[in-house]
Symmetry: D2
Subunit: 116 residues, 4 copies
């Protein structure tokens, strides 16, 4: 195992932190998908995850396993609600050089915009 | 041309409205990408587009051609800044049944959450 | 304009080459989407674009404007077929350091796998 | 638990099958990413997953937990190789109405194209 991997263990106690952008699209339930998106939001809330809803998905911050367990649960719940098919898009970031929250990422860009 | 296409023309005056989620990732410029993301934000602002920055991209609302012209300009600007390679992810929604803004989409989910 | 932008003009004659991964998901048309995906394939073929269909999208190689004109046409055609709503995911790569085709990208990874 | 969920259990023995499109982009390692993509391919092979490499990612077919364990391992391995930051895009499909392999999806579109 490399020293970088060791760094992950030291910094994060063996836990990989992720920032995720999740967009769940149920098929076969008609045009509106807000009912299913709201159900996913509840799953994420019940999992205790930090989330921010936006116009084309939900940002999630948390430990890898907790985040992906919750995403799996979202698929199960949306199928249980009657959707026979789901197509989901996920963007997913990890980094070992430093801790960075969702808020840090937005602030970092906003600072640049003010500087220029 | 079908009656649906005609509907688009009537409703939108021939202009296709889109809601986009844009995430531009420059390669070969190091670990931080906030400088390039800020430059893209300026391009979008100068194009007069309605945008909302979030932790994993930027939501954009506008006419198809204006939005995609601006996205092309983002790639040009980020290459000009020195990035030899860019990998971008776009989510893109259009609908002909009704007008729906980015704010409408978020509100629609939030209403569901309050109802339950 | 920077020297990098000049490089683009020299190398590509002012034309930005892109490699795109396109995934068009119509909503409100039921569970099967193969009819709409096939219609998009025809649009791309008629535009003379080089494409490779895979299990979760279509790879497209071409000039930026031609590729995005065709993607817009895909949305128009799928709406004309009756889909009131479309949610599309696009991955999009450009580079100024060298020309690289879709086949080059796959070969580059396959060579690495043989070397190890 | 609803009868639909029960259907999943009956049809799949409690295992959720997924078709995934995975695109791992390491940041801070320069312009070429083929070394990291090849390393991910090995991780997926060692996990015994069925994969198809394409020009903008890798299609994967398998059980949810096995696929996502392998994707997590990809992030760990690419960090161990020295990438301080990774931005990954995943498309992910599940369905409860019928079994469908990656090959079925491609065939379904190709059949449509021949019929027209």
């Amino acid at each position: 195992m490399s020293s970088t991997a060791l760094l992950i263990l030291v910094v994060e106690g063996g836990i990989v932190r992720v920032i995720v952008d999740l967009c769940v699209v149920p098929l076969g339930v008609g045009v509106s998908v807000s009912r299913e998106v709201a159900a996913c939001q509840k799953v994420l809330d019940e999992a205790g995850l930090h989330t921010v809803l936006h116009a084309y998905g939900t940002n999630i911050e948390g430990d890898w396993d907790e985040v992906f367990d919750a995403i799996k649960r979202c698929h199960e719940v949306v199928h249980e609600m009657g959707a026979p098919r789901i197509s989901t898009t996920i963007k997913l970031g990890t980094r070992t050089d430093r801790k960075q929250s969702m808020q840090d990422k937005v602030r970092s860009v906003e600072q640049r915009l003010r500087q220029d």
